[in-house]
């Protein structure tokens, strides 16, 4: 689980104590989603893995700066994006990234067991709803809800306006909300007529 306070502690352990175990923890936490993200940009699993590994090598080399990084998630995603873009420029085979091409899997939803129970059926419906989101919408949703990025940060990362991020998030919740509550969905349809 990527709890911001845990990540801060790990960052501190790496920055202050050169803690190799904490570094490994950070790697394990972020590696899968960063690779997904890189693959969606450069379409090559191998290069994506190398890029993420390179970013983490830099993190270790400059670990003393890690304490000052406010949101490590945003920092890592930005670093990965920049490296992906650089690689494009090196090969000169593309001019930019088309975010609509980006397909990001949304692997799972975690439901807090202490909270109100939710049926397995409902979770399945929610997952389907997320899978049915347009790719860009799904990516934005994932970056905000799963990676803990702020609207502003997502906008900067994906070169979009904050307003677009807002709209996409609103759209995502609307669809997921409809999956949870069919009645509300009907209401939506009704009010649109």
């Amino acid at each position: 689980m990527k709890k911001p306070e845990n990540i801060r502690l790990l960052q501190q352990a790496v920055a202050c104590f050169d803690d190799t175990q904490a570094y490994k923890q950070l790697f394990l936490l972020f590696y899968p989603s960063l690779v997904h993200f890189a693959v969606s940009i450069i379409k090559s699993r191998e290069s994506a893995e190398e890029i993420v590994s390179d970013v983490f090598i830099k993190i270790w080399q400059k670990r003393q700066h890690l304490e000052k990084v406010e949101n490590l998630s945003f920092y890592l995603f930005t670093a990965v994006k920049n490296r992906c873009i650089n690689q494009f420029n090196d090969f000169k085979n593309r001019t930019g990234i088309n975010i609509n091409d980006i397909s990001i899997e949304f692997k799972s939803i975690y439901h807090d067991p202490e909270q109100k129970m939710i049926s397995a059926e409902a979770i399945k419906q929610i997952q389907e709803a997320i899978q049915d989101l347009p790719p860009r919408c799904r990516l934005i949703f994932k970056l905000v809800k799963e990676e803990g990025l702020k609207y502003k940060e997502v906008a900067e990362l994906l070169q979009l306006s904050v307003k677009t991020v807002e709209n996409q998030m609103s759209l995502a919740f609307k669809k997921i909300g409809s999956a949870i509550d069919f009645k509300l969905h009907q209401l939506t349809v009704f009010s649109k007529n």
Partner: protein, 375 residues
């Protein structure tokens, strides 16, 4: 359309992006559309955190590959558990410039400390104020618990003392320890917690660990239960030792090697080859009591006195002296080398001695606070 506005506001609120006027607007919409409240609550309860990482095998494999790439790129990946040789060779790599700066900085610090101390002493003397230090001490045979101003808990074992500044926690968290204590330090990453002992300084952010630093003992021990600690050995301030949970650092108190407590290491052979003037340390694993896997190093916190199989009666006696506040004398050396092992919780000194006497076969005589052990 209200429903679209509802989703705009909901997503902002749920992602922590809503302004206070937007939050108010959201509440107003819910008042006019109470039928939406249910869905909003359901959605807020969902936690969209990925759990892919709990299935760690792929990521572990990726980390191995990553380490190999690091090695190829000649990036040094170490920090924890530096061994003695590495430190020595690293130290040689130090160039003279760094060394020069280091000495300069150290000199300035020393001068500052000297001046400050002097001015503080004179200030105290002039104003007749109470000293700014608080001290908690325990007598032989008694223990106590202290809660520091920052919420950290300290259990103080017998014959120990903990000293800290009255201003503890305002800017720095620093204590001085003689004897043994178990620390459960409250997390505060901006104020590291530092424990000074005679031979080592321990720096932590938020952890639980035990420090044993009795003046008469051959070693100072730091045992880590959870979290991270950074230890600096006095006179070797450019080396830092990092412990992982379940490890203990043993540092020799005098100018000798770490005194091994293993059975195959006769006492007298320890010192003859070692001529180093610097304290030497070793990182070991914590010891578990074989009967119930209790951690021996911290068992005193649970009021248990544990002797391990590899301890001699002399070592056991030292523990008993502190535990019960008695003095134990040995009638002859042979008895002092008997191996004794067992665990005591509420037993009195009489009961404990009686039990040991039965399993080890020695004689003892109690007169007041003094106990004499003979064959």
């Amino acid at each position: 359309m209200t429903i679209d506005r509802f989703w705009d506001l909901f997503s902002k609120k749920y992602c922590g992006e809503a302004s206070s006027s937007e939050l108010n607007e959201f509440e107003e919409i819910l008042l006019t559309h109470p039928e939406w409240k249910n869905t909003a609550d359901e959605l807020s309860n969902l936690n969209f955190q990925s759990t892919v990482f709990e299935n760690n095998e792929d990521a572990e494999q990726a980390f191995e590959t990553h380490l190999m790439r690091m090695k190829k790129a000649d990036v040094e990946f170490s920090g924890i558990k530096l061994n003695y040789d590495e430190i020595e060779s690293e130290r040689r790599k130090w160039n003279s410039k760094k060394w020069f700066i280091g000495v300069g900085v150290l000199a300035i610090i020393l001068i500052l400390v000297f001046v400050l101390k002097k001015s503080m002493v004179t200030l105290e003397m002039k104003s007749g104020k109470q000293p700014t230090l608080s001290q908690v001490s325990t007598k032989p045979g008694s223990k106590t618990q202290i809660q520091l101003p920052d919420g950290s808990l300290v259990r103080l074992n017998s014959s120990s003392s903990l000293t800290y500044d009255k201003n503890f926690g305002k800017n720095i968290r620093e204590v001085r320890l003689t004897g043994e204590a178990f620390f459960d330090v409250t997390k505060d990453s901006s104020h590291p917690f530092i424990i000074h002992t005679n031979v080592i300084d321990i720096k932590v952010l938020g952890t639980a660990f035990n420090v044993k630093s009795y003046p008469g003992d051959p070693n100072t021990e730091t045992s880590l239960i959870r979290g991270n600690v950074e230890v600096t050995v006095k006179n070797r301030s450019n080396e830092k030792i990092y412990l992982q949970p379940n490890e203990k650092l043993v540092v020799a108190n005098n100018n000798t090697t770490v005194n091994r407590t293993f059975a195959d290491q006769p006492d007298h052979s320890d010192h003859k080859t070692e001529v180093s003037s610097k304290p030497i340390y070793s990182v070991q694993h914590l010891t578990y009591y074989p009967v119930d896997s209790a951690i021996v190093e911290t068992s005193w916190v649970d009021n248990r006195l544990i002797f391990q199989e590899n301890e001699t009666f002399r070592e056991v006696a030292l523990k008993m002296e502190r535990w019960y506040g008695v003095k134990i004398n040995f009638g002859d050396e042979e008895v002092a080398r008997i191996r004794a092992f067992g665990s005591f919780t509420n037993e009195t000194i009489d009961q404990a001695l009686d039990a040991l006497h039965e399993s080890c076969g020695f004689k003892y005589k109690i007169s007041g606070n003094e106990i004499t052990i003979t064959k």
